[in-house]
Symmetry: C2
Subunit: 333 residues, 2 copies
DNA sequence: GAACGCTCTGTGAACGCTCCCAGAAACCGC
DNA sequence: GCGGTTTCTGGGAGCGTTCACAGAGCGTTC
């Protein structure tokens, strides 16, 4: 099949030096003469040597790879643009530290086992866990193995691992207050993803901002942050109370769906109904009018979580980090 | 740090058998007595053994991992829902064959080198290459190394590797003809991504369908399949010829942008202008009216490309596959 | 009862690398 | 010139597997 690959011994022979010296050059260690270093480099180029990673991993007992565990149903995986940004952000931090990012996707029970084996198999030195649910078994497995890891977000009932997150409660409270500040009288919410911390917290923030004006009849709940949830949720809210004049949607995708439903029902946005979202994803600028929303630094969440894992790997202490959010006020409310 | 992991020898000792027998049990080979098998299984559970993959890879000279190489700018990575579907489709096929999918993202030159090293380092037995450009260096590197690989799509000027693709020319021709069939007189196109085969071929199909009616002034070109490209492109077409009454957008995202531009310009869709897209992505159902478009089986493309790589790994011949597309006729034209 | 074939088990030899120790060579200060 | 330190190199040992081979045990056939 493929030609036999050159080994460190071939390089040593070609350079007229020993294995040990070649290894020192390859790993950039001290105590190599300039002369030897040049000879080795020439020999490497000559024989086309590339280090065999499996052999290295075997002896060093590490892999220089970090897993990004995504536990998310099919449909949502790429409808939610945050996941892509988190992925790229984590990739950036790891790439800088010369680690390889390995994406592990769980979308069935079989995947769940395969991923757990992968974790245990020593193919990965650490993990970034994205979009875990409350009491997620894979998160428990990670903690159980004792693998250095960090969450993006921090679901309840999960092991005591560091995380990179935003304060969803406070951010939701802030944008709801702002919406109320435009003089709306009947404000509802389309809540989503109550099986994870972000969904719960956004609802809690909404409730906090509403205070006495909170009316459970004006809150509808959907399992996922989707456009479809927003569309249906808004129709349901309009049926429940045609006088509704403000809506907080749990994400931009949800808000976009809600806006379509409002416009089809003949309501003007923002004149008749003000609407605000959450994420400041690409949805926000695509809506007409553009969405008022909360900007969350998705890429930075990924980068930060990756850095938390790297810190653990270097034996440094790593503690949770809460990143700032900003209310982006545009035309939808 | 972490406790020392149990090895195959620990299992052998616990079971009172030899390394070889344990290995045979772990790999499900023949010639193991039921008695021995049970003893080994009990011992594995007792000592908590998990196979060390690095050691295995070292001796077998394979990794049971397949790379999915995505070469795409930041912004587009998750705006294009096809990529997510391809990823999941490939994951499914590989997961079934007990291979692990490793996602390799190239979005800078440094990434490009790191990925090339990763390929060469023996960490991967094969590769699925998504969204390569014409004459993509990473594709050349893959061919150079002699790694079994397959493309999704098949850019010009790339090495002679099998691919899973759709017939973009024919599909574009078909939907353009259908658009013409609604009686449109002035039909234009918003072309995109002419640096890759899909972009080129969709333009070629459009031109073929238009025949003598083809007017280069009614074709605008943008580098990426984005909403923004559609929005701007439509405005430009309207300026060039206000009597335009039909548009073929190179993707659904582009079509969605174009539709917004038309509606802002006070044109009714489909009464004043008919518009068709390409992909049948989640964009299509989100538009009002819903988009007429070409359904391309993105998940199946990923699955098929993965299978082509697996076939090569098993020494079977693998030849290009062209998958079927279907015109989905909805309300936008 | 010898010869053969099948099933099953144990063991030495790799795989390609890093780590560590021993020792050579060079440099320093007194 | 001598002991001590620092710089540099070589090579044995070992990481945890799989693989190939040797050989034991047992049943079948002539």
């Amino acid at each position: 099949m493929r030609a036999r690959r050159a080994t460190i011994n071939d390089v040593a022979d070609a350079a007229g030096l020993s294995r040990g010296t070649v290894s020192r050059v390859v790993n950039g260690e001290k105590y190599v003469s300039a002369e030897a270093r040049m000879a080795v480099e020439a020999a490497i180029a000559q024989v086309g040597y590339v280090r065999n990673t499996a052999a290295r991993n075997l002896v060093t007992q590490e892999s220089r790879a970090i897993g990004l565990i995504i536990h998310e149903p099919h449909s949502l995986l790429f409808e939610d643009p945050n996941i892509g940004s988190i992925l790229l952000g984590a990739n950036e931090a790891l790439s800088k530290a010369d680690y390889q990012l390995v994406t592990l996707i769980i979308d069935s029970d079989r995947d769940s086992h395969r991923v757990a084996d992968h974790l245990r198999g020593g193919l990965i030195d650490g993990a970034v866990i994205v979009s875990a649910r409350a009491s997620d078994p894979i998160a428990a497995a990670v903690a159980d193995i004792g693998l250095p890891a960090a969450f993006v977000g921090h679901p309840d009932g999960t092991p005591d691992l560091p995380y990179a997150a935003i304060d969803n409660v406070e951010a939701a409270r802030a944008i709801t207050s702002r919406l109320l500040g435009t003089g709306r009288q009947r404000v509802g919410m389309i809540a989503s993803a109550l099986d994870r911390d972000s969904g719960q917290d956004r609802l809690a923030g909404f409730r906090a901002a509403m205070g006495e004006r909170y009316d459970p009849r004006l809150v509808v709940e959907y399992p996922l942050y989707t456009y479809a949830a927003g569309f249906e949720g808004m129709q349901k809210l309009l049926r429940r109370d045609p006088s509704i004049d403000g809506v907080f949607a749990a994400s931009d995708a949800v808000a976009a769906g809600a806006m379509t439903a409002l416009q089809e029902a003949g309501r003007r946005v923002p004149e008749d109904v003000g609407i605000v979202g959450f994420d400041d994803s690409s949805w926000a600028l695509r809506c007409r009018p553009q969405l008022s929303t909360v900007r969350q630094p998705a890429g930075l969440l990924g980068t930060t979580a990756a850095e938390l894992v790297l810190a653990q790997l270097m034996g440094l202490p790593s503690s949770p980090r809460v990143l700032e959010t900003v209310v982006m006020w545009r035309g939808s409310a």
